[in-house]
Amino acid sequence: MRKIVAKEVLAPGIKKFVIEHPQIARKRQPGQFVIVRVHPEGERFPLTIADADPERGTITLVVQEIGHSTLELGRKEPGDFLMDVVGPLGRPTPIRHYGRVVCMGGGVGVAEIYPVARALKEAGNEVVGIIGARTRELVIMEAEMRSATHQLIVCTDDGSYGVHGLVTRPLQEMIDRAERIDHVFCIGPVPMMKAVAEVTRRPGIPTSVSLNPIMVDGTGMCGACRVTVGGVTRFACVDGPDFDAHEVDFDELMKRLAQYRVEEQMSLEMLRRRIEEAGLARAAS
């Protein structure tokens, strides 16, 4: 059981939790994740560690409520407990001096690219940040990203804030201007990572993406998270989650992520009904 010590709503449906776990707080490195289980009947699912405070013994997780389990987690409040938080898992993102790097985050992926950007800046890189969201109110952690980068570009799909368009647009423009880019790090929805990989492929800019396949145990035991990289099957939980974007079979990843769509929908509707009924019961009493 792990205690939630703080919670903040970053954007509609995106919540930040600070959770007590001294060992993980001490150990975690950028790019690593935890496996969370909210309650005894709950699923095990991975969440990237957005931040940690080794002194206080806490880690920060940012969650987008998209399915049953993340919605349940989102309803937890400070003082509540999570059944399990396991980690830190996965290989850390290799942090070294690359030169000039671009750190890209899409949606809730901004929370995940943030520790990578900060570590790269601390390692002496010149860091350009490009973050994006569908619309203005879904842009998260802008201030944090500003502090973790030398230059930050914010994009919105609908143009309500910053650059109008996808994150690939400013990236493409940098490439067109022949700006120096030594490495691109990208975390976000699979279509975004795939699009970024396409943009950097031709100019041959080394690009790392952090993959988010379905996982169960997170320690290499079950093989649920297998992804094809360079024609070879890899386990994202122990071989990744970071991989060379130009080698990843994104189409396969998207198909595999959709495996339980029917079940997820069913389970989400059940939960919504339960929440609604609980709300009605409270209102009636």
């Binding site: 699923e43 049953h68 399990d84 145990d217 320690t219 290499g220 035991m221 649920a224 389970s267």
Partner: protein, 462 residues
């Protein structure tokens, strides 16, 4: 007492196959007191018993069976527990026909004594009547031992060392304790309540358990060595093998580990009351011939499969699974496809499994394993319509812990090298046993390793 030789084992009552394929409850009900005595009386009480040597932990088999025959079931339980602390588990999952029962004198002409069933009976009797005896624990020595992994090897080490007065902490990566016993072996073969009872018993003796704690990640072995006097690694094998054939990453293709973990540990059969889903295939193919394959294919039936195929590249005689499980699978309607091997898995345009292509095999000369080598028959490819494939072709050493522990020597398969006398690894004060040393082996062999390592650890730290 003059004894007449009874040629066949006393049958154990069990759930009707038609009924049990629709539930996850345990298949055999176990012996009644009368049946146990009846079976115990079949034992010849040999002057020079050969069965004991057939048991990796050398249980006093004639001794406990004699007590059963006399109706002293508690005495029998205690006799077993002098050497085996997990008889309720071993009685259910040990491959007795390859071990103690194979060595039984009766088996030369008739069916052997049902040693496993009797072991199970006395363990269940002791537990169900609430008469589990707590061993007297000596004064605390102040020495601390860390056990990594809560499977059969780890639990044995913990049990042995706590009884020597040492402090024991068991670390487990998953949230539930028992290792393969909890994620891998289905409830219809080993009810979780029995495992829980064994773990609770160890906890009542003072063993500390730390679930959801990944040694190698949350804390390294080197860090453990700073706060413990010795470390035992019983982390299992736990890296699923795939066949490296086209189509293995299609939706609906599972490793047996994932399939069984979803079904058992995460109780996907109770979805949506429990949150973890599983693909409930109509036509399920399980590849492999071991106990894991048998568990997976029987799980598929219970999840509602209309056709559950077991595809094995050798013949029935070479199947490594326990005989009892093969019988149970047959009774339940599993369709055995012997001497067939998958060559590729074919998907639809959405990435889901649609068919599996198989090639017929024939048996050639024996290979390194002593079993006759399966050889493909050219041009015999044919297809089978399936929507789910479970790959149960064995596993390798999970590198997670080894890669974060410098100086641990491994063999060419990635398993740990240990001193055969003590179980000590190439790192001082670090011991290992079970599947991480042997590769995929059995529960009782893992326990034997645990026992040997516990003895060596005690010698070193006392």
């Amino acid at each position: 007492m003059p004894r007449e030789v009874v040629p066949t084992k006393t049958p154990m009552p069990e759930q009707d196959p038609k009924e049990r394929v629709r539930n996850f409850r345990e298949v055999p009900y176990g012996y009644t007191e009368e049946l146990a005595i009846q079976e115990a009386l079949r034992c010849l009480q040999c002057k020079k018993p050969t069965c004991i040597a057939g048991c990796p932990v050398n249980i006093d088999i004639p001794g406990f069976i004699d007590l059963v025959a006399k109706g002293d079931f508690l005495g029998a339980a205690r006799r077993i527990k002098a050497t085996n602390l997990l008889p309720a588990i071993c009685g259910r999952v040990c491959p007795q026909e390859e071990q103690c029962e194979k060595a039984c004198v009766l088996s030369k002409k008739f069916e052997s004594v049902a040693i496993g069933r009797l072991e199970r009976f006395v363990a269940d009797f002791e537990r169900e009547t609430g008469q589990i005896q707590r061993p007297a624990i000596p004064r605390r020595t102040g020495k601390k031992v860390a056990v990594v992994g809560s499977g059969p090897a780890g639990l044995t080490v913990a049990a042995d060392l706590i009884q020597q007065g040492h402090e024991v902490t068991v670390f487990e990566a998953l949230h539930a304790l028992g290792g393969v016993l909890v994620y891998g072996i289905p409830e219809f073969r080993l009810p979780k309540s029995i495992l829980e009872a064994e773990v609770n018993f160890l906890a009542s003796l003072g063993v500390q358990f730390e679930p959801s704690y990944v040694i190698g990640k949350t804390e390294t072995v080197d860090e453990l060595l700073e706060r413990f006097d010795a470390v035992f690694l019983g982390v299992g094998a736990g890296l699923p093998h795939f066949m490296r054939i086209p189509g293995e990453n299609l939706n609906g293709v599972y490793s047996a580990n994932e399939y069984l973990t979803r079904a058992n540990l995460m109780r996907a059969y109770m979805f949506p009351e429990w949150d973890t889903p599983i693909k409930k295939g109509k036509n399920v193919a399980v590849i492999g011939g071991g106990n894991t394959a048998m568990d997976a294919v029987r799980t598929a039936l219970r999840l509602g499969a209309e056709n559950a195929y077991l595809i094995y590249r050798r013949s029935r005689a070479e199947m490594p699974a326990r005989l009892e499980e093969i019988h149970h699978a047959e009774e339940e309607g599993v369709q055995f496809r012997l001497l067939e091997n998958p060559t590729r898995i074919i998907g639809d345009d959405k990435g889901w499994v649609k068919e599996i292509e198989l090639i017929s095999m024939q048996l050639g000369e024996p290979d390194e394993s002593g079993r006759r080598r399966p050889v493909p028959i050219p041009g015999s490819e044919h297809r089978l319509e399936v929507d789910t494939v479970v790959v149960a072709v064995g596993q390798g050493a999970n590198p997670l812990l080894i890669s974060t522990t410098p100086g641990l020597k491994t063999n060419r398969w990635g398993y740990l090298e240990v001193d055969p006398e003590t179980g000590e690894t190439s790192r001082e004060r670090v011991y290992a046993g079970g599947d991480i040393v042997r590769g995929g082996a059995t529960v009782i062999l893992a326990m034997g390793d645990g026992r040997r390592a516990a003895r060596a650890i005690h010698e070193r730290i006392r």
